[in-house]
Subunit: 439 residues, 3 copies
């Protein structure tokens, strides 16, 4: 039972385990294609049974085409004395992702048009990409830029941009039903810890836990390059999309900010309500955002032709923290406690989806006599007794075939686990029966 | 007309009359069955034409069985010198209701497991029951407990628990239609003034007033033991339940707190809206609570198999005042002013139900010329003129067959009496016609 | 394009132009009939192609009858020395509108029953009418009243009340469709600047602007006497009423207060949403009022037999400013800046109605690749780029045939002009297609 998994969860230890996985993945230079993605997926295969898919460059996927594959060996800027003043080996953020190969001497003036800095944060390196516009560039700190006074520099980007493949990983666990829960992450960012190694690590551990749990739902975990990866998956699996009942995109889930949930386009889908229920139950600060067609791969899952019930779980939303898409999104920016908490919240929301049922009170006229069945004290300690009794009364009163346990939680403001526990006890005593779709 | 009854109501005198009835009923030792209930109903028969029903022990009522009948003559605890230190004759709260007979000497230690006190309120006696679990017990003040130092005491409960009857009272006034308004009270509590002699007294006077009033609706007043009584009535009258259009449970309606209305399970039934309209019109502080499946007999009326539009009128909700279910819920805790106000508010809500209609404007295209019909000054004093004119304009504009007068009140924020007065005047001038169900 | 008209609008100059027109119309003595109305309409014909309609007295219009026509040449009160102490030529407010002719000597006492003042504002003259009750009266300042000490006065009202006509003006511009936008004003008030010369002037300039603009909708401007005028128009054009898709009543639209919009009876009609969108976009303070069946001619347009989507645009609502219906509602009370702003807001709301469309995303599965179409930079300056991109994403995501551009504005909180600009660009690139009614 997921409830037991959750109650036994050591959030501190789990957070540390997640942080170690983030640390392992951090040095790899990822992009939307190339060996960095393959290395990342290889590392994840040590944790979970991941299938790796390779889609050839040039394949049409809806309105898009799989781009050429990009790989990089080395890159630097040398000053007039031949000293590497910018070195890809020190940070893979230094090279604009998808930069075409270049090796030449350039004047400082020409070079400057290929340099990107953050004047407001002079010690941070920005993160830049140019996937669909062939060019090259370097990202450096603003202090580096200021110290560059030579008239000429040597630039070298030892990269390849050639026909190859788009690579992604997929992990599927069948459940009692074909209805699926989708967990999706983007895996295309280089050394950025929160965006999105945090999500990748949490997703990986969720997969590990669900692999061995009893599952009402089937689970599909996707580790895909952002945008092009989810578009590719949707295009190649269009027939299977109808199985997706609930979904979460995990992004920026490890910083110190409070948990944030962005609703699916549907706005009040079961996943939305389950996530919000968990955030409310926690009693802690949290944010709930309406859907907007901007963000991560929920943009694709929630495009109007699919309109899937897929929300996005994060902590501080992208672009609302200054470290976003800079070298300051590093291993210290991601907190073990936040990683552990994010995992626990996702798992708890999944437990709601797994446990949510709609029942029919078998004794709907007046209350049944709970006392004669020993239900007033049959389970739990004395302290919780009042809440347990209330949960039974709420479940009995609203189990009219129209209200699910989650509906009853929302009405009663009782925790889902308590309401479900009451339902299980009442069902055992023949007072509830699951409503069929026909009811 | 109920409106006239209300406008002539002397709330102070009525409150005092209600308090006298509460005082008359206060000494009687009631429980869910037995002679205390019969004495209570006999006293009420001096006020209203009550029919008394007796249902044999052992009768099945839905999931329940009518319990054996409990009666008590005397009870005491004597100390080692033979002095009655706890005496049923001083307070009928001293005995746990439905205590089985006992007469023996017990050690202090054994006795303590049968004693109930309120440590936080050392001068108050708690109220306890044990209807479905055969045991005995005494409720005493915590100060009494502290002064008990003898090694041995004599306990006596001279009670009987035998096959007999469950007793309840019912009072029915037919109206123009078979549609009923139900007013229900629990009559099973011993010397507790607010819970529920206040409700019983108000209900009794409401019945007296409605007996001689013109009635669109039929009225049914129930004076029943809590839970088992309403379950019994519902079980024995299942075929009639469909006639119940609106209902109020009256409970804890006499303390100094502000009026509180708990919505029916339906949430926005006409009774809910009428009660809330009255509370808002009053301009005074008040509370409106959502339905919850806990409280008084609305639990049974609002069980999912019935789902009747029955709300609960009270002042301070049960268990939200420290005097609740203690000897401090006495005659001084119940205020004449509150009793009078509660009655006036219930009667005003009933007047809304009686007067609420849906009309069709007979001149729906543009406004009719009110001036040529003398309607701008045909009724009322000059001070209210503006509000009267506004009421006519609101009634005309929204009498499209879709909005009742109560709907129009909610939109216009005008008092119901004003809106109804306008409708009556407009109908007299042929500008309105009652909408039939077919419209 | 209306958008261009709006962006080129010089609000200061326009406000001054409007104030000049108000000033021209101010001296005329208007009432619900008579030559003052004709002079007013004649002046407006210098601005717009107005058709003038004359409806004979005695004509039945729904529940009303066209009254006799009232005209006035002179009026005064002379004191015992023959001095005109009250003179119609100084202010046409001095005579109660529709006063019957009178010429006689009266005692001060008798005269007082025909005098109206505002004790709280002793220097202001009130505005009074008596259309349907034949009498005569004078409106004077309270200070004038206090200084009247003669025993006898000569009163003269040189008026006529005879069979004649009700006069109103109408101006119609056909558009691409027969669906109409109605703009209506009352023209029956004498020298009151805000009520309603402000509305008349704004309406007149709106008509001038729309006359030469491309028009999806047809436009009907009505300049009618309040109440009887709109009733007359509705009665005589009942068959055409169904063409009215949106409407605005303009009243009290020139004082210094913030803009106020009163919703139509439908409550959330497209005109309501367009007006509210404009008020919100402005970022300035504004008021939004629910419909009530009191105010100006929206009372007739929104009567239940018509229930047209007609709201009311104003600044400070009638009777909420002390100058209302007094001589203090003069040319200084109306501000050029407010007049210009009111016109701009109405025109902007009309631009929303003209531009609002519902589209179908032609690439509904995942996002289309905007970059390859140059859509990320194809229009506008760099500063607005982010907002332009967001607008495209919102339009694409919600163009599912169920959401209009106005719906998308409300969801995205983007300005309408931005959303429409995005839709136009996307449509040009074949990514959107207008949804037909059948979709």
């Amino acid at each position: 039972m997921l409830e037991q998994l959750i109650s036994r969860l050591d959030i501190v230890a789990t957070g540390q385990q997640l942080h170690r996985l983030v640390s392992d993945l951090y040095p790899i230079c990822r992009s939307i294609s190339g060996d960095g993605v393959r290395q990342t997926l290889d590392r994840l295969r040590q944790e979970i049974p991941l299938e790796i898919q390779e889609i050839p460059s040039g394949t049409d996927v809806f309105d898009w085409k799989i781009p050429r594959e990009w790989n990089i060996n080395d890159a630097y800027i040398k000053d007039s004395r031949g000293v590497r003043i910018v070195d890809f080996n020190r940070s893979n953020l230094h090279v604009v992702s998808y930069s075409v190969p270049v090796r030449k001497k350039v004047s400082l003036e020409e070079l400057k048009s290929h340099l990107f800095t953050i004047p407001d944060q002079p010690d941070w390196i920005p993160y830049r990409t140019s996937y669909y516009n062939e060019t090259w560039g370097f990202c450096i700190t603003h202090n580096q830029l200021r110290s560059m006074t030579d008239r000429e520099y040597e630039v070298c980007i030892d990269s390849t941009l050639e026909d190859g493949h788009l690579t992604y990983g997929e992990c599927f666990f069948p459940g009692e039903t074909r209805d699926e829960i989708l967990i999706s992450n983007h895996i295309c960012h280089p050394s950025l810890a929160n965006d999105n190694l945090a999500g990748i690590a949490i997703s990986s551990l969720l997969a590990q836990m669900l692999a061995s749990a009893p599952r009402r739902y089937s689970y599909r975990f996707l580790f895909v390059p952002g945008t092009i990866g989810s578009i590719t998956w949707l295009c190649l699996h269009e027939a299977q999309v109808a199985n997706i009942r609930h979904g979460i995109v995990l992004a920026c889930a490890g910083d110190a900010g409070c948990p944030t949930y962005k609703r699916s386009r549907q706005g009040n889908a079961e996943i939305d309500r389950a996530m919000i229920q968990i955030l409310k139950e926690s009693g802690g600060s949290h944010e709930i955002l309406d859907f907007s067609p901007y963000g991560y791969d929920e943009r694709q899952y929630c495009s109007p032709g699919f309109d899937l019930p897929v929300g996005c779980f994060m902590r501080t939303p992208h672009s609302q923290y200054p470290e976003y898409h800079t070298s300051a999104d590093d291993l210290s920016f991601v907190k073990a406690a936040s990683l552990g908490d994010s995992l626990a919240k996702c798992l708890s929301a999944i437990a709601i989806l797994e446990g949510n049922r709609t029942y029919l009170n078998q004794n709907p006229k007046c209350e049944p006599q709970l006392g004669k069945r020993g239900l007033y004290s049959s389970f739990g300690g004395a302290t919780d007794r009042k809440q347990r009794e209330m949960a039974m009364l709420w479940v009995l009163n609203y189990s009219d075939g129209k209200n699910s346990l989650l509906d009853i939680c929302e009405k009663s403001r009782l925790p889902f686990a308590r309401v479900r526990e009451a339902a299980v006890a009442l069902e055992e005593h023949g007072l509830l029966k699951e409503a069929s779709a026909a009811d």
